[in-house]
Subunit: 258 residues, 2 copies
């Protein structure tokens, strides 16, 4: 378990908010705050720390968006247990700011997932393999429901991650899957489900046979195929993105600069 968390201090005057976040990090690290546990009320916390509620709320909001805590009106603030969603928002902004394409996301999968599959072939428990098989059958059962089909497609891959036994890579690539899910769903509507199923089945069987090399090869085979399909779909569907609209809070748009 890590603990070298708090960088002691920064000389340049930090925000109260930034300090508060560091404090919470520390409290979590030293176990004062337990996952699932309830935090004191905002008003109490603010007084304890000697800061205003506004500043405290800024820190809490950051933690909430990162998925560290959950806040519920009328109830309280709780420290989350796992943090599956913790990388989601940041990843989306990363994709935006660095202009990362779908193609590049698929390339990342292509770099890593074959190795994870090989590792899964080596390390998977019987239960792990059973889980991968269940997702495969769930895909078969959802042939006609694109959304569900894709969901189980991704869960199939994530089951392989789990079997590979490394949570870091597992969490990172689950986030990538999430970012790709919409486009994959669109693409799946023009691809024969049996085609996808065949490729997945080969991966499953390779892992079940504990054949690392074939697991790697079959995963590569599948992802190359998927990458090419997605890339083509992304080109055609790029206008789709433009159609996406958000609910704005006000008619007036902000002036970007001056």
């Amino acid at each position: 378990m890590l603990a070298l968390v708090v960088p002691i201090a920064k000389r340049p005057k930090e925000d109260v908010t930034v300090k508060l976040i560091a404090v919470f990090k520390q409290l979590i690290a030293e176990g004062t705050l337990e996952p699932g546990g309830r935090l004191p009320a905002e008003r109490e916390l603010a007084e304890s720390f000697g800061v205003s509620r506004s500043s405290l709320r800024q820190a809490l909001k950051v933690l909430e968006i990162m998925g560290v805590i959950s806040q519920r009106v009328g109830d309280g603030t709780y420290l989350n247990k796992g943090a599956d969603a913790i990388l989601r928002e940041p990843m989306e902004f990363l994709i935006l700011l660095d202009g990362i394409s779908f193609h590049e996301l698929m390339e990342a999968r292509l770099l890593v997932e074959p190795e994870l599959a090989a590792r899964a072939a080596l390390r998977a428990s019987e239960e792990d393999i059973a889980e991968i098989g269940r997702e495969l059958r769930a895909m078969e059962a959802a042939k006609d429901d694109h959304a569900r089909f894709v969901t189980h497609d991704l869960l199939f891959h994530q089951a392989i991650f789990h079997a590979a036994g490394n949570r870091v890579t597992s969490l990172m690539f689950s986030v990538i899957h999430k970012s790709l899910e919409k486009l994959i769903t669109i693409t799946s509507q023009v691809v024969e489900p049996d085609h996808t199923l065949t490729l997945h089945r080969r991966i499953y069987q390779a892992i079940r046979k504990r054949d690392q090399e074939e697991s790697r090869r079959r995963t590569t085979e599948h992802l190359v195929d998927a990458r090419d399909l997605l890339t083509r779909a992304a080109e055609k569907q790029s206008h789709f993105a433009m159609a996406a609209r958000i609910q704005t809070l006000n008619k007036k748009a902000p002036r970007p600069a001056r």
Copy 2:
């Protein structure tokens, strides 16, 4: 370039803050806000959106912590260009909340970096290889300065990531490096620099020879070695973490629950 960013809307009543974040995401996605550009003043923005400055500041603070924007008093708020640091804070909390060990972080490197080295051997430009070589020489020149030595050690690996040509993996694993840097620095004090240098030199030469298989093997060799060293160091140094102290804002500690 991605754009399928905004999930349209969520039916359950969202925070104003959450909505604001979505709005900014949209503004960035559609190019209304340009990297490096200046945002309107908080007071103007708040009025434009029809929200209070408090709520707006919560949203901005989230974006700032994630590295999307930078705020400077007396100056203004600017949209960052790249977002290298965007995953750092979240990653630290991820490590904390999920109780991820140094060992597991090194396992993640071990899973991915050999493949990245192989890809680098395949794709690296002459300039990429020169950069890797420069970092290697910088390591040699910093034999006696542990901190600098480790910095260039990590930059060496990141140069390989860059040469591999995938920014997603590059960014992700740079974050992991950052998390490991302190411990690696500690470890480096008990390891002969020439030992480390030899292992790095082998990787460099393999990439320069464009030998994918050897690049992979040499990287694995190095990381296995490093993993074992780090794991042992982490056990011995675990008390080090306990010595870490943070600057608290007030004497009173918050009551964790009730």
